[in-house]
């Protein structure tokens, strides 16, 4: 660690991992509810468990992004963080607000929570992924502003690199697009149109900037390839991301009351959305092949390569599968969407946060640039367990989706929703098994922080060269 203030990243990363475990736990509950309909009913109905599952995902990824920024920016700016105290304060505010919100979901009926938090004053609740009470949303805005101020001031006063500027633009975009979550008109067509300005322009827009800059940072550090080369790639990739992704929003506008030309605009541009992901894969492999040193933290490099491949598969390939309007007409709102969502989120965002944690954690714990060999072996096991099981989850959900589309939408004698659900239950069972394996992988991941942490190669004090 080159700068003392980078240490504030550590609690962010720990919280991220903790919430990740919670997210997967609720994922398993949801998977079981798919096949045992009354599991935990009526105490934790499906909608509550799902809300916890998705909201925990968003919150822990945000913790991960913030931790990554706090670690990365001082090193890029070559100066201490503007205010480490503010970063720690915001950590606790965000954690407490997040925990209270999740507890609210679990302990109070949702309508009671709406009443309790005065949703009627400014109704923003009850829309997918934006279920948080309005007061929590305001809290998120405050935390985001303080965070951006802290990061922005650090960059402004220090060295400005492409990596940190792109990260800043991505984080700024994240905060700005979130403001659309406060717009909730009664007109459903408009409500849905602008809802996507948060959801799509996050995950297929500004978050990809964050993804790109973290990946670039880790590759600079682990491969030793010239910064100029990596930053050039970074710019080209994120340029393609926004060029395809902004109009690509149109692939959500086919069937929600927006004019029908979106079917053309959305299909054409979203069909190109895999290109930046493919470039990212080529980029990561290229840089690792041209590496000028063998970084001792092999697990971190594995995660970096993994995210480049899995983001392309999940977001690129599985996204393309159902993005063209004539196909989407049949697949819209089926398990195909769920399949794509799981692999895309895991490949692009879960893995990039884990990449950063894997790279930074040894230094944050005051050790050498890499954990012990034993620890790395366990971590790599967790990589493969989680990655392979998410591939299977995706394949099983895709199978379920294809059958669902055929039985419910395509065949000459379409069957009712619930009848179809019974017929595809087999796929849900297999998905749940794959989910359990994922949980094993996650446990192994957590364990890797404790395995071999006293081994000699891990405990030697980090020198400057190792930390660079």
């Amino acid at each position: 660690m080159q700068y003392q203030s980078q240490a504030v990243a550590k609690p962010y990363f720990i919280a991220a991992i903790g919430l990740f475990v919670g997210q997967i736990l609720f994922g398993l509950i949801l998977g079981l509810q798919y096949v045992i309909g009354d599991f935990m009913f009526p105490e934790i109905p499906f909608n509550v468990a799902r809300m916890v599952h998705t909201n925990l995902l968003i919150v822990w990824l945000l913790f991960g992004f913030m931790g990554a920024a706090y670690y990365l920016v001082p090193e890029e700016a070559e100066r201490e963080l503007f205010s480490p105290g503010l970063a720690i304060l915001m950590f606790w505010i965000f954690l407490v607000a997040g925990a209270l919100t999740i507890l609210g979901y679990l302990l109070v009926p949702y309508s009671g929570l709406a009443e309790l938090t005065q949703n009627s004053v400014l109704p923003t609740m009850g829309r997918e992924f934006l279920e948080q009470p309005t007061i929590t949303k305001l809290g998120i805005v405050v935390v985001a502003l303080a965070f951006l101020f802290n990061i922005g001031m650090t960059i402004l006063k220090g060295r400005k690199t492409a990596v940190s500027l792109v990260l800043l633009i991505g984080l700024l975009g994240l905060a700005v697009m979130f403001l659309f979550s406060f717009y909730n008109p009664d007109n459903l067509a408009k409500d849905k149109y602008y809802w996507w300005w948060v959801v799509h322009l996050w995950v297929e827009g500004v978050w990809e900037l964050i993804l790109g800059s973290i990946l670039a940072f880790v590759l600079i550090k682990t491969t030793g390839v010239d910064r100029e080369v990596i930053e050039k790639w970074l710019y080209v990739i994120i340029a393609m991301t926004l060029i395809t992704g902004i109009i690509g929003t149109g692939h959500h506008y086919y069937w929600i009351g927006a004019p029908e030309y979106w079917q053309w605009w959305g299909s054409i541009f979203s069909a190109l959305e895999p290109i930046p992901f493919f470039m990212m894969t080529v980029f990561a492999f290229n840089m690792v092949n041209r590496r000028r040193r063998n970084h001792p933290n092999k697990a971190a490099v594995l995660w970096a390569m993994g995210t480049a491949v899995m983001a392309f598969l999940g977001a690129g390939v599985w996204g393309f599968l159902h993005t063209l309007a004539p196909i989407n007409y049949y697949t819209h709102g089926t398990q195909i969407t769920a399949a794509h969502g799981h692999m895309a989120f895991y490949g692009a965002y879960v893995m990039i946060v884990l990449t950063m944690i894997s790279y930074a954690m040894p230094m944050l714990r005051g050790r050498t640039a890499a954990p012990s060999n034993r620890s790395q072996v366990v971590e790599m096991w967790s990589f493969w367990l989680m990655t392979v099981s998410i591939v299977f989850i995706t394949l099983f959900l895709t199978g379920a989706g294809i059958l669902q589309v055929y039985l419910q939408r395509y065949s000459g004698d379409p069957l009712p929703f619930m009848v179809v659900q019974d017929k595809i239950a087999m796929f849900y069972w297999m998905r749940e098994v794959a989910g359990a394996v994922f949980m094993v992988g996650l446990i192994a991941y957590v364990a890797s922080f404790f395995v071999g942490s006293r081994d000699p190669e891990a405990t030697a004090v980090a020198g400057d060269s190792a930390a660079a």
């Binding site: 009913f41 909608n47 009443e115 609740m125 009850g126 459903l188 009351g257 819209h332 619930m418």
Partner: protein
């Protein structure tokens, strides 16, 4: 020199391309605003429909159902449920009929204990949604 691929150039493409497509997106959004009145069934939005939408949101219906294909995939599509159930009465009767403790081994919608007025508002909201022009989606009545 002509082979140069400069970082400055890549950066300019990023900034220029982003601004270009943001402007294009805003232009299309502007046109979408002009096109909505013919498609969004806004004339059907009454006080009651607004109240129905609020109830829809404050009971997190989207956490199980899809509405125009968006939401969770645990329970049926409701954008066309007004047509599928043949009117408001069918919707109201179904919501009222749900057992408090669920159905053993099966998925079941919770019992929300809505008042008659609330049930009516929800049904009116779903009627309004079914009147939107969704480019013929869903493909059939099963949603």
């Amino acid at each position: 020199m002509s082979q140069a691929f400069t970082k400055a150039m890549a950066r300019n493409i990023f900034y220029g391309g982003s601004v270009f497509f943001i402007l294009l997106f805003l232009a299309l959004t502007f046109d979408t605003h002009n096109a909505w009145p013919q498609r969004d069934n806004h004339e059907a939005i009454t006080e009651k429909v607004s109240e129905g939408k609020r109830l829809w949101e404050e009971n997190n219906c989207i956490g199980c159902h899809t509405l125009l294909g968006e939401g969770a995939y645990f329970a049926p599509e409701l954008g066309n449920v007004f047509k599928r159930y043949g009117g408001k009465d069918g919707i109201k009767a179904f919501i009222m009929s749900r057992p408090k403790e669920g159905v053993p081994g099966r998925r079941s919608m919770p019992q929300f204990n809505f008042s008659d007025a609330e049930l009516d508002a929800i049904a009116e909201f779903l009627e309004y949604v079914s009147g939107m022009n969704t480019a013929n989606w869903p493909p059939n009545i099963q949603g």
